[in-house]
Structure formats: structure tokens, C-alpha cells
Amino acid sequence: MWKKIKDWIELRIGLDELVRTQLREYRVPKNINIFYTLGFVAVVAYVIQALTGFFLLVYYVPQSEHAFRSVQDIMTKVPYGWLFRQMHVVGSNLMVIVLILHLLAVLFMGSYKKPRELTWTSGGLMLATVFLFCLSGFLLPWSQLSYWATTIVTTMPTAFPYVGDFVANILRGGDYISGSTLNRFFALHVALLPPILVTLIGFHLFLIRRIGISSSPFGEAIEEAEPWVGYRHEQYQGQPFFPHFFLKEIFMCMVYFVVMFFFITFMPTFFVPDDANIQADPLRTPTHIRPEWYFLAPYQMLKLIPNKFLGISVQVIFVTVFLLWPFIDTKEKKNILKRPFLLGVILCCLALWTVLTIWGRY
């Protein structure tokens, strides 16, 4: 019976050939390291977000009068609702961490260099989309924390003269955060952003498979030796993708789950401070309210730079440079250790980001 089904599928899809050519015979560089698995972990993290998000969507009420209570009901009454919500909340933060680590790994290993500029840019756009996911999702529980943190973040664009207020008003659906903002953010979170992210993931993966995975400049000799004068698919004599590298990816996914459930078990309130458990009150501004940790650095920078237009301009330049980085750093040398100036600049930027984040927190 099983053989019959298998043969039936084989005849129509050619599954054996697909597995052989795309998994077993597909080879990755010998010197590939564990950081190469982070992209796969990020995709799995997104799938978890989508699945848990779907579950939450069944019970969540996207109206300002009922949103907070519906989230409390998910945590209290819905069977296993707490688990799905905690996975969604912890997962969103872990996903950002995984993406940042993935980005740093690509940056340090020079994997963005020709011909992979579009792979980097699509990855950068994915990170921006994930930040939009976080921003829009953060408001949905309609708590004091989400309300006022969103107020801060949606006020940031007002630093732009003339268009700033317009942008902020478009985001909020008015001068202040209200039920209209909740509706907009909800629509953005569940209807607009998912297809955008899925498209970007598809494009990113297509580019990786089309060009071939980049080799690491560290470890054993680099196999990618020929200059890129025309299109070619990078072929390696390294280890098979399946099962060798695939098992490493699965291992890292298991580690991701362990970290996620560790937080849920032992630090369930780590990403949910007290203000997140109080219903939003537009008439009462809590003291010491701040945006989420990943927005703290730009928030603090905006507070520090005396001219706000300059502050926001610097940030726009940072984002532009970040997205177009492969077109700016066109040198072929991939090993960052042999480029001390670039290494120094990147480390300074990282240190600045860390300091601003900590400063913004306290």
C-alpha cells in the first residue's frame, strides 16, 4: 500500500530525483560553520510565529474595548492559550536576536560580497519587515506598555519636518494612538506583513540556491576562487547538504526551542513587565516608559542629538548604508581580520549600538 502511494507520487513529482539533486548531491563548503545555520533557524522562528499567531488570532478581539481582556482570557481560560502566547511573545524577541546574529555572521564572513549583494539587501529588508511586525504586534494587547511604547515609536517620524506629522498621522490614524491605530496595526500585522515577509524569504532563498551558499573566509582553504565575471552556480566538493549540514541546522533549531522554553519556564515575565498587564489608559502616562529593547538605540540617539532633524537624518543614512552596504564595500577580500580598519568601524558601531541601548534602558 505504502509502496503504491510512493510510486504514485514518484510518477507525478519525481520526489526521489528531487531529494537526490537538491538535498543529497547539493554540497556546501567544507569550512562552513555553525553560524551558517542561523538563517534556517530564523525561518523556523518565523514559522513558529505564524503558527502561534494563527492560534492567537482565533481568540484575539482586535477592538480597543476588548483587546486587553481577550489577551487575558487567552492567558487564563483558553486551553494552552498561555503556551501559544508565551511562545509568540518570547519567540518574537528571540527571532530578532537570531536575525541580528545572522546579520553579524554574514557581515563578519563577508558573505554579502559580489555576487550576493541582492541576498544581503533582501535580508536587510526582511529585518526591517520583522521590526514592523514587532512594532505592529506590540500594540495589539492594548496594555499601558504597548500603548505608550507605540506612542514613542510613532512619534519618532515627527522629527522629519513637513512630512513627519503626516507619516505619524498615517501610522496612528489620527493625532493620538486610538482604536483606529489598533485596527491599522492589526491589519498590518496579520494581512500585509506576512505575504511581504514570505515573498522576501522566497527571494532570499532563491538567490542562495541559485548562486550557491557562500564559503567562509575562515578555517580551511576557500574553494570559491574564480572571479565572478558572469553568472555561475557555485559548486563545492564539500559536505552534502543532507544529512550533514541539515542535521546541524536541526540541532540549532532544537537549541532555539530549548532557549524559548527556558524563558517560558523560568522567566515567564522577562519580556512582559508589569505595565504590560495593565489595560491601556490614554489619560494616564506611566513614568519610565520606553520602547522595546531593539528600538532603544535609535530612541536614545534621537534624545541625545540636539537637532532632531539631524538625529533622524543620521538614522536614515545608517539604514541606507546598511541596506546598500555590499555596493559600498566592493573590495573582494572577504576576511575581515585582514581589514583592521573595517573591523574597527564595525566594532565601534556595535559598541555604540550597545551603549545607546543600555543608556536608553536606564
Binding site: 515627527t158 559536505q239 502616562t285
Partner: protein, 283 residues
């Protein structure tokens, strides 16, 4: 790179030319409490009471109020004193309901506008009767203070305060009668806060606790020990009902914790298995 540098210079120059925008932004962005500034209650009452024209004793009032239980719960000057805090010229107008400072014997009615149940019991109590008869008996402010009022606890019954008017022995008996119920209410309140911080809906139990607390504390204002003792069982039963729900929820949280710990172990085990399997596939 040079294009970006040029862009940066152009934007910087534009920023300098837009110096006027800076003030607007700082007013709109940085002056907000969430941008790090303090919360400033904009009211004619506070502006006037903090100005130099005010007597020093009156100038301390806004600070006292800022740290009070009333301020924490959004009860502002005009909620007690009337008037219009948004309009300086009409802030002390009787047309806008300004009543100012009440007379000593008028304080209970003044506070009783909100604390209705307490007023009724107080008026029937020895305290209330003494005030009515002599106009010198204790009123609300005698025990609770006024502008800097804090959340009432059982500690308000103390030797220093009570012996201002009578011996402490009578008050001590009352404190003993209240002690266990007050202790239980404090414990439940702490537990509900803990549950709330885990995202649990505690609204129904909070409401029951609030009404029980309010009724019990209103009952105390009769200063009738035997009445408090007689009705303590009734309050204890209500509190036990809440406590039962709380304990049930804590038990549920424990189950959840065990379940997620189990999942942690499962995935840790799977990670080990996959790592071992992966090791067998080396080249």
C-alpha cells in the same frame, strides 16, 4: 561612498537652516513624560500654589498631594475643593463649584462625598457623635491627614495617634479584632498582583476583594468592636472564596511551569540526539 557623504553634508546643512524646527520638536517630543521628563500636572491650582506669591505653608501642598494616594489614583484638587483648574481666572469661582477649605466639623461631609459608606458609619460612631456634640471630636483628617493622605492600613491605629484623645486600650482591642482579616486581605492582594504579573485575568477577584475591603473598613469606622467581631466571619468567608480561586490559579501555574520545563527537557534531549547523529555523518 562620496555620494552618501554629500547627502550627509546636505542634510546637515538643511538641519542647521531649520533651527526653528528644533524648538517645536523638543516641545512636542522631549517635553513628554515618556521621553524622560517628569509628569507635570497642568492646573491653575498647582501653578498658583507653587508660585512665590503663596504663603510657604500653602506652597507645600502640591508636593504633599503629588506623593499621596489620591494623586496616584487620579484624584485631583478640584475633585475635593471644586473650582476650575483649567481656567486660572475661574479656578476659585463659586459658580464653578469652588468650596475651598471646609470647616473642622464639615470635613466628614466633605470626604463623605466619595467615601459614602464610611461617612454613614462614622456619623453613628463615638467619633462622629463627639464631633457633632462638641465640634472638637476627631474628624477624617485627625487620623488620615489631608493633602498627603496615604493608603489606609491597620497601622493607622497606633498608640501615638489614638492617645491624643483617649487611652490606647480601647483602640488596641479594635486593632486585634481587625488584625487577622486585614492580614488576609493584604496577602490576597499580594497574590492577585503576582497572578496579574503573569498575565492572568484577576478582575473578578479584585472586584470582590475591593468591595470586601471597602465594607470591612467602613465597618471599622463604627469603632464598635463587638460589631466588627460579629461580622468578621462573614468577611472571612468572602475572603476564603477569593483565596480558593487564587490557590487554584497558582496550582494551574505550577502545572504550566512543569509542562514547559518538560518541553525544555524534550528539546534538550532532541538536541543531544541530533548532535550525536550529526557526529556520525562526518565527511
Amino acid at each position: 561612498m562620496r555620494y552618501l557623504l554629500s547627502l550627509f553634508i546636505v542634510l546637515s546643512l538643511a538641519a542647521v537652516t531649520m533651527a526653528g524646527y528644533r524648538e517645536t520638536f523638543e516641545r512636542e517630543f522631549l517635553s513628554k513624560p515618556w521621553a524622560g521628563g517628569p509628569i507635570v500636572e497642568k492646573s491653575a491650582c498647582i501653578e498658583c500654589h507653587t508660585s512665590d506669591i503663596m504663603k510657604p505653608a500653602f506652597r507645600a501642598i502640591p508636593d504633599e498631594w503629588q506623593g499621596s494616594w489620591h494623586a496616584l489614583n487620579g484624584v485631583s484638587c478640584n475633585d475635593c475643593h471644586g473650582g476650575d483648574p483649567k481656567d486660572a481666572s475661574m479656578s476659585m469661582s463659586h459658580v464653578r463649584g469652588f468650596v475651598g477649605k471646609p470647616k473642622y466639623e464639615g470635613v466628614p461631609a466633605y470626604c463623605g462625598k466619595c467615601h459614602i459608606g464610611i461617612l454613614k458609619n462614622y456619623l453613628e460612631s463615638g467619633h462622629g457623635k463627639a464631633l457633632k456634640a462638641t465640634k472638637k471630636g476627631p474628624n477624617c483628617v485627625t487620623c488620615h491627614g489631608s493633602h498627603g493622605i496615604q493608603r489606609a492600613t491597620i497601622d493607622i491605629i497606633n498608640e501615638q495617634l489614638c492617645t491624643k484623645c483617649h487611652s490606647y486600650e480601647r483602640a488596641k482591642v479594635m486593632k486585634q479584632a481587625l488584625f487577622l482579616t486585614e492580614k488576609k486581605m493584604g496577602e490576597i492582594e499580594k497574590d492577585l498582583k503576582a497572578l496579574k504579573s503573569e498575565g492572568i485575568f484577576t478582575g473578578d477577584d479584585e472586584k470582590t476583594l475591593f468591595s470586601t475591603q471597602a465594607e470591612f473598613r467602613a465597618l471599622f469606622h463604627t469603632v464598635d468592636v463587638s460589631l466588627v467581631k460579629d461580622r468578621t466571619d462573614e468577611f472571612t468567608k468572602r475572603l476564603e472564596g477569593i483565596e480558593k480561586n487564587v490557590q487554584k490559579t497558582f496550582a494551574e501555574l505550577k502545572v504550566r511551569k512543569n509542562f514547559s520545563a518538560f518541553l525544555t527537557l524534550i528539546f534538550a534531549g532532541l538536541a543531544v540526539v541530533v548532535a550525536m547523529l550529526s557526529a556520525t555523518y562526518k565527511d
